[in-house]
């Protein structure tokens, strides 16, 4: 990038020294910030780990019993969202990269990116005002006709503000992320592979199945995991849409729903006091660890196939 290590060294000017020192300083600020985030979260969390219901009014017994259902709800909602979003996102990415007319493709990509620009609080309003009433009749039908299936067991929620609705909103929010990354990876498929497949008489789908998808698999996986990380940390949309009771249940359509860590913090923090604040910060620490682990997995998958390093 710059001068190679030559025997003759350039003259060190004061301007150079100031500039390089400030660049190093700025880089170190990142280190300091992250260290500060970790330190403050851990220090503030320690009182919560040993607290019981006498210290903190929001605890029933101890901290782990409080955070357990929240962790379950967070992972359950994010997993549902990923399950809905992944096939749709791959479809959209394929449509933009291989089906849409070349001239339109970038415009269509921009339109999907618009979804990512909508603030989450607006998704929350939309989820409550439009989506929940719209899907409620479908939920009723599902419970009436498919109620024997454990996930769809009744009684149906009257408002439609269930974990499935929250997962739908989350899915809409992570679709642009997964789509953007998969689209980039699909576009990187070697053209020669595609043309070879077509020349052998493959239909478009056979070409995609044999050339594009195998090439893009690591990219799709890392995109999915990054989307999952985003869904785990999403706060306002879930806090507004979900009417949570805090139970651990797999049922999708009832009014008994688990809450998520982020939504619970947003809803409880403004009124929290004393040790309750520490308890909520400790749940935040656990969310931080979970998302860190998920993102680390995504990076590991990307790093295994170095050619996709440009994909995120």
């Amino acid at each position: 990038m710059t001068t190679a290590a030559a025997p003759i060294r350039a003259k060190q000017r004061p301007g150079d020294r100031v500039f390089s020192k400030s660049a190093v300083f700025a880089g170190s600020m990142i280190l300091v910030t992250l260290a500060a985030v970790a330190t403050f979260l851990i220090v503030q969390s320690i009182p919560a780990f040993v607290a019981d219901s006498e210290d903190a009014s929001i605890l029933d017994s101890n901290f782990w019993a409080y955070v357990g259902p929240l962790v379950f709800g967070t992972i359950w909602a994010a997993a549902l969202a990923l399950l809905i979003a992944l096939p749709i996102s791959i479809g959209i990415a394929l449509f933009i990269s291989h089906y849409a007319p070349r001239r339109l493709a970038s415009v269509l990509g921009y339109i999907v990116d618009l979804l990512a620009a909508v603030p989450s609080v607006v998704f929350g309003l939309w989820g409550i005002g439009v989506l929940a009433p719209a899907v409620q009749p479908i939920y009723t039908w599902l419970v009436d006709n498919l109620g024997w299936f454990p996930l769809f067991a009744g009684p149906v929620s009257g408002t439609g503000r269930t974990i499935l609705t929250a997962a739908l909103v989350l899915a809409v929010m992570i679709i642009p992320i997964i789509t953007a990354i998969s689209r980039e990876v699909f576009l990187q498929t070697p053209v020669l592979h595609e043309e070879a497949a077509l020349a052998l008489g493959a239909t478009r789908w056979e070409m995609i199945r044999t050339a594009v998808l195998p090439f893009g698999r690591p990219g799709i996986i890392s995109a999915a995991v990054l989307g999952l990380g985003r869904a785990l940390g999403e706060t306002m949309a879930v806090a507004m849409v979900l009417s949570a009771t805090g139970a651990i249940t797999f049922q999708l359509l009832t009014s008994v729903n688990p809450s998520t860590i982020a939504a619970n913090i947003a809803l409880s923090f403004p009124e929290a006091y004393g040790i309750n604040v520490n308890v909520l910060i400790a749940t935040g620490l656990i969310l931080f660890i979970v998302t860190f682990a998920v993102n680390a997995i995504a990076r590991w998958i990307v790093a295994r196939r170095a050619e996709f390093s440009g994909a995120n």
Binding site: A10, R13, L34, Q44, I96, L115, E234, P270, T291
Partner: protein, 366 residues
């Protein structure tokens, strides 16, 4: 090898004698459109009959049922005429297009909802009054707009120098362990959930001003934590695009390294960097959770970053929705109007960023 020259008589029943061998066994070009039109007609007829019995005409249902009829019909037709392989191809084409159209439903529905509800209160009063001493109708979001501008501006003031200098370090100076460590940490920072950033800022300022204080500067710090990695990432990408030859030409003329960066590298990449910074502002301006935690909410205008709670547009949307008074419509209208304002700001930022990228990009080639 032998399969490519299979004689036609083993093709099965569809390979009947036909006049034109080139278009044999193939649906006509307009077939998908005709089938699509027919599916829409059948579906509309179906829902029209239901609507006759008094129910409202179900637009979404019409399109969903039409899509299902279309996929089934085109797959079946193609299977009869063109065989299994082409039929699968048509099936997947329909599914993939359907996935794209499906994603358009929330976008269109969201835009229509925000514009229709938002325009109810999108008036002069909304932008010139705060919510101080307002209950029920009237009032506005002036305090929230002031807070959003102040906090996002401060966050930008913190994160643009740090982010830009970090990316310069990574591209121009960074070697060895520190650079690799910083790249890794920027990755980690990108993944911090926004609410955790809010908790961090709250905990940090609780030390200085005691527990329970919520100030504008805390909100700005929370936003900066979210903004720095985005700025670093986008600027780094842009700086790496600058050709090495430009730097080498500058060095060859005896220009010091720091002047090369300031006078050659940065001007070349400034359009891309500006775009990245504007997009990062657009990203954090809609953040609700960290501001709810760190800056709190209030009904009054507050110009002081270091003293007292500060309202912001996204938190305004949330509080208007969450603490509805009487009449609730007034509160919901204000929430939607603020949502419309917020989306307009984000859209304008996005649009300007793309225009900057297009019109101020360096001209290569001659």
């Amino acid at each position: 090898m032998t399969t490519t020259i299979t004689p036609p008589e083993t093709r099965g029943p569809t390979a009947a004698p036909v006049s034109n061998s080139l278009t044999a066994g193939k649906l006509p070009n307009g077939a998908p459109w005709m089938v699509l039109g027919a599916s829409l007609l059948v579906s509309a007829g179906l829902f029209g009959v239901i609507a006759l019995s008094g129910a409202e005409f179900n637009w979404v249902g019409t399109f969903v049922v039409a899509a299902i009829i279309y996929v089934a019909t085109i797959t079946l037709l193609s299977r009869i005429v063109e065989g299994a392989r082409r039929s699968t191809d048509r099936f997947v084409t329909a599914l993939v297009t359907g996935a794209f159209l499906l994603a358009m439903i929330p976008l269109i529905s969201l835009s229509i909802t925000v514009v229709t509800f938002g325009l109810n209160r999108f008036d002069v009063e909304f932008f010139t009054y705060s919510m101080r001493n307002v209950t029920g109708e009237g009032g506005g979001a002036l305090h929230a707009i002031v807070g959003t501008v102040l906090m996002t501006g401060t966050a930008a003031l913190i994160s643009i120098p740090i982010g830009l200098m970090t990316s310069i370090y990574l591209v121009e100076y960074g070697r060895g362990r520190l650079a690799r460590g910083i790249t890794f940490l920027v990755d980690v920072m990108t993944g911090i959930p926004s609410i955790v950033a809010g908790l961090f800022a709250y905990a940090l300022f609780a030390i200085f001003w005691g527990p329970g204080t919520r100030t504008g500067i805390a909100g700005a710090v929370a936003l900066a934590v979210l903004m720095i990695p985005v700025v670093v990432r986008s600027s780094e990408e842009m700086l790496r695009l600058v050709p090495v030859e430009l730097r080498e030409a500058s060095y060859a003329l005896g220009v010091p390294k720091w002047l090369t960066i300031v006078k050659v590298v940065l001007p070349t990449s400034i359009a891309g960097i500006t775009t990245g910074i504007m997009l990062s502002i657009a990203r954090v301006i809609g953040e609700t959770a960290p501001l709810l935690i760190a800056a709190g909410f209030t009904n009054s205008v507050n110009y002081d970053m270091t003293e007292g709670r500060m309202q912001s547009l996204p938190v305004f949307v949330y509080t208007q929705y969450a603490n509805q008074g009487n009449p609730p419509e007034a509160y919901l209208d204000r929430a939607w109007a603020a949502a419309l304002t917020l989306i307009l700001i984000v859209m304008v930022l996005n649009l300007v960023a793309r225009l900057v990228a297009r019109f101020f990009a360096p001209k290569y080639g001659r």
